[in-house]
């Protein structure tokens, strides 16, 4: 096995990076893929609680990097999916405990063991972000259909190009089709016009996301809800499948027909 390293970044905080990393990792694991996700947000770790693995942490990312444990010892195996692992972030340290070359070395050690390494980038464009993208083969940029998130995504896309990590693919999260229909939310097309990069996923706004994180049970575990399905589709697209975008995603066709001058 030679893992593909995928980093999810956004610039702006709170757009749903951690939830997406958890769900994309779960979705890949339910498809028979061996996956390790890495929480890159040192000092503000959260991927463990979203995945429901917070009680099983012994060692973390910084322990591996500073040689206090072997890589294997820091990999927490998921209870539900035996091919899913988490390397948690350190909670009592900061971003400077890790360097981009540390991340490259760690991912190179991990590559032969798994199919996918999914890295959760912290918000911002400084050290933590640079660490998170250092080893990435592909970066997924996440945004919400909202001015500040789109602007920050554009900055991140530009930085990725400058670092030779482009072209990035876009995930639009928390799309509310009803608001798009009444013209009170940027549509998928609007966001794509503005950012001019390829789309890899559209995730609708869904209350179940909060319920799922309350329970530590990622949505993608059962594909019945729309958001869970959307994450499953992103996993399939990462695996090279051509998957049409969900129905809700084309609802503005109606709007376009109605308002076309």
């Amino acid at each position: 096995m030679t893992a593909k390293v995928i980093t999810i970044a956004s610039g702006k905080g709170g757009v749903g990076k951690t939830t997406s990393v958890a769900n994309i990792a779960v979705a890949l694991a339910t498809r028979g893929q061996k996956v390790t996700c890495i929480d890159g947000d040192i000092g503000l770790r959260n991927l463990d609680v979203v995945l429901g693995l917070e009680n099983r942490i012994v060692y973390d990312l910084v322990d591996v990097i500073e040689g206090r444990c072997r890589l294997r010892q820091a990999m927490i195996r998921d209870k539900r999916l035996s091919d899913l692992y988490l390397i948690p972030a350190a909670q009592t340290r900061d971003k400077t405990a890790v360097s981009p070359s540390d991340m490259v070395r760690l991912c190179d050690e991990l590559r032969p063991e798994v199919d996918w390494i999914i890295i959760d980038s912290p918000a911002g464009i400084e050290r933590g972000f640079k660490n998170a993208i250092a080893a990435a083969d592909r970066v997924l940029v996440m945004t919400n259909p909202e001015v500040s998130a789109v602007r920050d995504a554009d900055r991140v896309i530009g930085l990725l190009e400058a670092e030779g990590k482009g072209p990035a693919a876009l995930i639009i999260n928390r799309l509310n089709p009803a608001m798009v229909r009444r013209g009170d939310m940027l549509s998928v097309e609007d966001v794509l016009d503005l950012l001019a990069i390829d789309l890899i996923g559209i995730v609708p706004e869904d209350e179940n996301v909060v319920v799922a994180s309350n329970k530590g049970m990622p949505l993608a575990l059962d594909g019945k809800n729309k958001a869970g399905q959307a994450f499953q589709n992103i996993a399939r697209r990462l695996m090279g499948e051509k998957v049409p975008f969900l129905d809700l995603e084309t609802q503005n066709v109606f709007q376009r027909l109605l308002w076309r001058k």
Binding site: D154, G158, G183, L186, D193
Partner: protein, 85 residues
Amino acid sequence: MISFLFGRKKSANSAKERLQLVLIHDRTDLSPAQLESLKDDLIATISRHIDIDPTSVRINMAQDGREQRLVADIPLKTATRRRAR
């Protein structure tokens, strides 16, 4: 038409228009004021060589995918004069 019927502009349209401008300046690191001064310099330079009407010059940023382009449309006065002769 929509704003005429409902008495307000759709907020998504304002969001898109505002973002279009903001992104151009973020990407090029050129403020609207700097762009204005660039225009003045260009007009002054060109005027030293050819006769142009400064008020008809259009210089703008255009987006082409993720590339930014400075597009200048500069009508020349001499062309019209020649035609008149």
